[in-house]
């Protein structure tokens, strides 16, 4: 499993497919995050940034995961499938490689907000909550990317539309009465904007929602993988 993960990550990095999301993240940091929070509410604003970063990164993580899973040619996917022992190993390895790569992007994007939050004197618990939120949001982001990868949607144009449409649909679904079916983006943004206390106290419910959503969507992805070519 680890060897397949390393193989996929190495292919993604060596093919330079990692560059587009990396450049987007660096630009986001350089143009927006680097300015940092100021004024009397600097501490609260610094915590809020973690939630904003998670919301911004959700589609970026999906895009990066899709790109990683699409790096291998179809025939190589077949060779990898015959090389491993378990039928689900390539699927798990692909998800793990995409998540690990997304965590690397997360480290790049969170380094500056983390420093700013520490400098602004934000509560340690709120900073940890912000980091944990990003760790968790990277999972559904990765899964959305996996559902739009070439193994599921062979047409690249259609898969990109589904990725963008899916991210937008999840955001819109979170506003209406069917919010429980969506990723709780509105909830974590609202909690962070209510202050560090609310952000920390609301986090367990948000985390549970994220975990349940990821478990269901991830289980469906793995279960249907055997029916894909």
């Amino acid at each position: 499993m680890i060897a397949v993960v390393r193989f996929q990550m190495a292919g993604y990095v060596r093919s330079l497919r990692v560059l587009p999301p990396f450049i987007v993240v660096v630009l986001f940091v350089a143009l927006i995050l680097i300015q940092g929070p100021g004024g009397p509410d600097a501490s609260d604003l610094a915590v809020r940034t973690f939630a904003d970063v998670a919301a911004f990164m959700f589609p970026v993580w999906a895009w990066a995961a899709r790109a990683l899973l699409d790096t291998q040619p179809d025939e190589q996917r077949a060779l990898t499938a015959t090389a491993v022992r378990g039928p689900f190993t390539p699927v798990w390895a692909g998800l793990l490689a995409a998540y690990a790569m997304n965590l690397c992007l997360g480290v790049v994007v969170l380094a500056v907000p983390l420093l700013q939050a520490v400098q602004a004197g934000s509560p340690g618990s709120a900073i940890l909550t912000g980091c944990a939120l990003n760790l968790l949001v990277a999972v559904p982001g990765t899964l959305l990317g996996a559902w739009t990868s070439r193994a599921v949607i062979p047409d690249p144009g259609v898969s990109l539309l589904v990725l963008l449409g899916g991210a937008l649909a999840l955001l819109l679904l979170g506003i209406g009465p069917l919010a429980r079916l969506s990723v709780p983006m509105i909830e974590w943004l609202r909690a962070a904007h209510d202050g560090p206390g609310a952000f920390t106290s609301d986090f367990p419910a948000i985390a549970l929602h994220l975990v349940l959503w990821s478990l269901i969507v991830g289980a469906l992805y793995v279960a249907t993988s055997r029916h894909r070519p």
Binding site: A10, G11, R14, P73, E75, L79, T82
Partner: protein, 259 residues
């Protein structure tokens, strides 16, 4: 599967008890597509070599993929597939950002092969001078050798080779049937599609013909071809290699006679 205390004859007999079976297998790509093949029931005993024949587009590669476990049959089931499967595709995917050495190193790690299989197989298949070349820069024949190496390196119990001779140089083309024969003698189930007819000279090769959405086992008294005619063609020495490759690629038997 290595009963080293048995005599070679008893070992071959013991291998044949290990059988992989396709039972009433049918396959088509999509629900409303025509069947590529249906009602396929056959056994593949360990230690045998099976040649899959048929016209272009008859479904040979699809059958090989079903046997390898890369495609699930729509109907029926495949039983007793060994866990170590080596598969060499008709066209090796060269569009990958690795050198030959790095790629095979990754495949060896995935297959958990001990030792230094990359150097061993590069030497056996005569591409050790290409180990630091990028996959995308390989010729068709060299890429084919890399595909063969990744399939062979893990001592497979089931070896599927889809047109393995296409594009190979004469030396490797001559050596490969012997290698296949050795693997079969060691208990590997080998299934090969071979338009170049390079393995037909191997003794005891089973033959399957894929045609008209069915798979037929050919017996020795089944005519594989219509009446055959031998033509003699004279070419200059520097053209001989390329013409021989072309004729083999077109499915003709070629015998070279030096003057």
């Amino acid at each position: 599967m290595s009963q080293r205390w048995l005599t070679p004859g008893l070992r071959r007999w013991a291998y044949r008890l290990v059988i992989m079976r396709l039972e009433n297998v049918a396959f088509r790509y999509r629900r409303k597509d025509p069947w590529v093949f249906r009602d396929v029931s056959l056994s593949l005993a360990a230690g045998t070599v099976t040649e899959v024949t048929g016209h272009n587009g008859a479904g040979k590669s699809t059958l090989l993929r079903v046997i390898a476990g890369l495609r699930r049959p729509r109907v029926g089931a495949v039983h007793g597939r060994p866990s170590r499967v080596g598969y060499a595709p008709e066209r090796f995917p060269v569009d990958q950002p690795f050198s030959v050495r790095t790629y095979l190193g990754h495949m060896a790690a995935i297959r958990q092969v001990p030792g230094d299989p990359v150097a061993t197989w590069a030497e056996r298949l005569r591409f050790d001078h290409l180990l630091d070349v990028r996959l995308s820069e390989l010729s068709k024949g060299s890429a084919q050798k890399v595909g063969l190496a990744q399939a062979l390196m893990a001592d497979p119990e089931l070896l599927i080779l889809d047109e393995p001779f296409a594009g190979l140089d004469a030396a490797t083309r001559d050596a490969l049937p012997e290698l296949i024969s050795q693997l079969a003698a060691a208990g590997t189930t080998v299934v090969v599609s071979d338009h170049q007819r390079c393995i037909e000279a191997l003794p005891g090769v089973d033959r399957l013909r894929v045609a008209d959405a069915s798979v037929t086992r050919l017996t020795s008294d089944t005519p594989t071809t219509e009446e055959r005619v031998t033509l003699e063609v004279e070419v200059s020495g520097d053209e001989a290699e390329s013409l021989e490759s072309k004729l083999r690629a077109d499915g003709y038997r070629v015998r070279r006679r030096e003057r």
